[in-house]
């Protein structure tokens, strides 16, 4: 009994030790030395890692780099070096990223017994500290132009301080044209003065004044004048924190008068931020490939917030869909060449055409702006009234208007009234009115599109026919060229099949040219194009048949050791399968092409030839005893094809 207990205890002890040992082993830090691919970067890496649940988790120092002298001297080399450290798969500690694209004019100099190759190109770098995946402390991003191994100019530089991923204190960003300097609050919101001034000093400079993230005003200074543009200075309603990006600038512009918008540097402030963000994104992409990362700087601002309720959202959606349909119709009418000619002589067509122009200008154009704000997601950052004032500066478009026409330099006009059930009404909400205008524009254009439908359709048909005929010529040319190029380089039996395909194509073309009626001609053109395309495919397949055959023969040959001769000999294996292909199926395919080719069986033949080839190749390593027995008796190609397909579907 005691012995039994001891035995059990011992067993338990063994299991316990193994049980503890496995996780211990899993936590062991290991080192990797070798090639590593990170996204598009492929280099030599040295790093420490541990295995957690069979996953490689980076832990400890990390280094990956690449440079290739050979490539540099020959053409151009891209080099990079990423150096830093990870903790449990998350970047942590000082990091440096360096990317370079260099070429050399094969100039070298010898310094201290070392050959130095002078390089020119662009060197980008990013360095700073990362704390658990987020930038922390000062990050400097640089892009420099290198000439003969010397920095010749700085193309981009940004210095931003972070605290746990949130931008802090002062920052500066400059590219070749502008410098931006500004500061943040502790929570990352823009604060105080942000100055944007041009590098060349010729242009005006701008100062953006923020308070708690809300832009108060913008001061524009140039040599002889300064102007103050009021932004959200007096606003004290609901606000929302968003990123300072192109969308924010657009939302801001809705507030401003067109004059003010024209004064400001066109988007150069968000452009700088965008360039900066792109560089952070580049680093984030690398870190995300290796582990967890949140390496994106977010420059936050506050904007006035006028939320849309769900009903409003639905109305905006329907506005977008009306706009899309209407703009497509209007474009097809305005660009229709027949209508464009007719409108010069026919008063009614001129009336229709000009009406569409009017609807596009007065209805679709303002709606287009709304659609673009919606896609930027900034509809909620401006009051509805301001929005209306911005898109309709001269008030709502009229639903009844005199349309003017000029025929033979005689002006006339005719009253137009939009045939619609939609109406705008001052008592409706702004969003409702916008939706109504979108629908009115659509209804108006749709009605005219219906009137000119036949003209449009006819033109469409003619265009299609012209395109199809062009395609027919293209397809036939490519077929003839292909056959001419290939027919001499393949055995005669395949060349003959190709010649037959060419002959058949020319017969098909001839048949098409005999079709007279316009309606039938379109149908005939469509089927002729399809047929020629298939013939092209078939001719490619036929040109490969010689290779197919030799590949099958090669693949069904084994090298056998003959002990009596002490030599290796080729042995044909599974002869029934290879001979079914070479003696029955291949002649059958060629015969089909030469004797009974039609547009209808072209695809079938092309697919059968390819499928048969692939099946035969695949059968080599399968157990085919049964199939070989069946093939022994069978001489009928269609039955053999069926057998091969049966075999195919079974596996």
């Amino acid at each position: 009994m005691i012995r039994l207990i001891i035995k059990l205890l011992l067993q338990f002890l063994v299991f316990a030790i193994i049980g503890i040992g496995i996780p211990l082993k899993a936590q062991e830090i290991q080192t990797y030395n070798g090639p590593l691919q990170i996204g598009k970067y492929n280099g030599k890496a040295t790093f420490s890692y541990k295995l957690v649940d069979n996953d490689t988790v980076l832990h400890g120092d990390f280094l990956v780099l690449r440079s290739n002298l050979q490539e540099l001297l020959q053409k151009q080399d891209y080099s990079f070096q990423f150096k830093g450290a990870f903790v449990d798969g998350t970047a942590n500690g000082p990091w440096k990223f360096q990317f370079g694209e260099f070429n050399s004019k094969s100039q070298s100099e010898v310094i201290d017994y070392q050959y130095r190759v002078l390089v020119s190109g662009i060197q980008k770098s990013a360095s700073g500290k990362i704390q658990m995946g987020k930038p922390n402390g000062k990050w400097t991003i640089l892009e420099e132009q290198i000439e003969d191994s010397e920095i010749s100019s700085t193309l981009f530089k940004s210095v931003v301080s972070f605290n746990d991923g949130v931008p802090q204190q002062n920052f500066s960003i400059n590219n070749e044209n502008y410098t931006l300097i500004g500061r943040f609050l502790r929570d990352g919101l823009a604060h105080d003065e942000w100055s944007l001034f041009p590098i060349n000093g010729m242009d005006q400079s701008e100062s953006w004044y923020f308070r708690d993230g809300i832009l108060q005003l913008i001061r524009v200074d140039d040599d002889n004048d300064h102007k103050t543009i009021k932004a959200y200075q007096d606003y004290n309603g609901r606000t929302k924190v968003i990123n300072l990006d192109a969308g924010y600038i657009k939302a801001l512009e809705i507030q401003l008068s067109q004059v003010d918008v024209d004064i400001l540097h066109h988007n150069s402030l968000p452009e700088l931020l965008k360039q900066n963000a792109a560089r952070y994104q580049e680093v984030d992409n690398i870190l995300s490939e290796l582990g967890k990362s949140e390496f994106l700087p977010e420059f936050k601002v506050k904007v006035p917030y006028y939320p849309l309720d769900s009903l409003d959202m639905l109305k905006v959606d329907s506005l977008v869909s009306y706009y899309k349909k209407a703009i497509e119709l209007s474009e097809s009418i305005l660009h229709n060449s027949q209508l464009n000619i007719l409108k010069l002589s026919d008063a009614n067509t001129a009336y229709q055409y000009n009406t569409v122009l009017y609807l596009k200008e007065s209805y679709l154009k303002p709606i287009q702006e709304i659609v673009s704000y919606d896609s930027l997601g900034i509809l909620e950052y401006t009051s509805r009234q301001q929005l209306m004032n911005h898109v309709f500066p001269t008030g709502m478009p009229k639903s009844e208007i005199d349309i003017e026409m000029q025929i033979d330099s005689v002006m006339s006009s005719k009253l137009y009234s939009i045939p619609t059930t939609s109406l705008t009404d001052p008592s409706y909400s702004n969003i409702e009115n916008l939706q109504a205008i979108a629908k009115m524009g659509y209804d108006g254009i749709l009605a005219i599109a219906d009137e000119v439908k036949e003209t449009l359709a006819q033109e469409k048909r003619q265009n299609e026919l012209a395109n199809l005929e062009e395609e027919i010529i293209l397809q036939n040319d490519s077929l003839v060229t292909f056959i001419e190029i290939n027919k001499d380089s393949i055995p005669l039996k395949y060349a003959n099949a190709l010649k037959q395909i060419k002959l058949f194509a020319s017969t098909t073309l001839n048949d098409y040219s005999k079709v007279k009626s316009a309606q039938n001609r379109l149908t005939a053109a469509r089927s002729t194009v399809t047929c020629l395309k298939k013939l092209n495919e078939l001719s490619v397949t036929v040109s490969k048949m010689a290779t197919y055959k030799s590949t099958i023969e090669d693949s069904y040959t084994d090298r056998i050791w003959n002990p009596f001769m002490a030599t290796l000999m080729d042995e044909d294996i599974k002869k029934r399968i290879t001979s079914a292909y070479t003696k029955i199926l291949e002649p059958y395919f060629l015969e089909q092409i030469e004797q009974s080719l039609t547009c209808e069986n072209t695809t079938n033949l092309h697919e059968q030839i390819n499928a048969t080839y692939h099946t035969v190749i695949m059968l080599k390593d399968k157990d085919t005893k049964k199939l070989e027995r069946k093939l022994k008796k069978e001489k009928e190609p269609t039955v053999i094809l069926e057998m091969l397909n049966v075999q195919n579907t079974k596996q």
């Binding site: 090298r559 056998i560 050791w561 002990p563 009596f564 002490a566 030599t567 000999m569 042995e571």
Partner: protein, 277 residues
């Protein structure tokens, strides 16, 4: 694998040397040599040989040979009557395309063809044999050097006769020359001239070390990589064991079938079937 192979070969060489030099001491026995060497009557023989070579592993094979040898008698001139039935087996090792060894045993059944004899009709003969074959390619032909060493225990037809132990030392030079192809491959007719010298030693061998010199030419046809047939003629001569002054000589017709099946499963065959190339 290579080093293992080398060990096997070294071992085999050692074995054959040890066996070879053991007990080459001979007792003196009065022997009356003729004044001039004398040829005995020319005899004819017919040999029908099958050579099986069955692959049992990546480098190992089973050599299975069965030979039927007929010797001329007064009643059955030319073709002759059954003289010996051979069962020769060995396990072989393919070291490379150009070298292989094998080791095995032989049970030869000797039939008494002397019609006047009243002794036993059938006696067994036992052998242990090992062989080292070198092959080399020369232009389109192949050349082979074969060293075969046999340790044989024979006995006479007389009732209660003792086994005699002898060693046989055989060297054969053979060529296989393709006639209708640039190399030995299926559907090839080839001609194979060969010369083999068989020496012997042992207590019973006093003045007749040259047991046999065989000069053969066969014409063969490779049907498939696994099946070859050949036929030819052999002239042989050698000293009579009992008196080295007398030489036996004979002409033999030889008919050979060579087959080398491989029953291994396809998945085991590939890619080892190609050996090292």
């Amino acid at each position: 694998m290579k080093s293992f192979g080398t060990y096997i070969i070294k071992g085999l060489f050692l074995f054959c040397f040890l066996t070879a030099f053991h007990g080459i001491s001979q007792e003196d026995e009065p022997e009356v040599l003729p004044e001039y060497s004398k040829y005995k009557d020319l005899t004819t023989k017919t040999w029908i040989n099958t050579y099986g070579n069955i692959r049992i592993g990546k480098r190992l094979f089973w050599d299975a040979q069965t030979h039927l040898r007929l010797a001329e008698t007064e009643d059955t001139p030319f073709v002759g009557q059954v003289a010996q039935v051979y069962n020769r087996h060995a396990i072989g090792y393919i070291h490379s395309k150009y070298f292989n060894v094998r080791l095995g045993g032989v049970l030869r059944l000797n039939f008494n063809t002397d019609e006047a004899s009243t002794d036993r009709n059938l006696v067994p003969e036992w052998r242990i044999w090992h062989q080292y074959q070198f092959a080399q390619a020369l232009e389109s032909m192949m050349i082979y050097h074969r060293i075969r060493i046999e340790h044989r225990w024979t006995q006479g037809f007389a009732e209660n006769s003792e086994y005699i132990f002898r060693n046989r030392w055989r060297y054969m030079f053979r060529m296989k020359i393709p006639l209708n192809n640039h190399k030995l491959k299926p559907k090839t007719l080839y001609v194979a001239p060969e010369a083999e010298l068989i020496m012997q030693s042992g207590k019973a061998v006093v003045a007749s070390p040259m047991e046999d010199l065989r000069l053969t030419t066969t014409l063969g046809y490779i049907l498939t990589p696994r099946l070859t047939v050949a036929a030819g003629a052999m002239y042989s001569q050698g000293q009579d064991l009992s008196n080295g002054g007398f030489f036996k000589h004979s002409w033999a017709m030889r008919f050979h079938v060579y087959f080398s099946p491989d029953f291994r499963k396809v998945k085991n065959k590939l890619p080892e079937i190609h050996l090292t190339d």
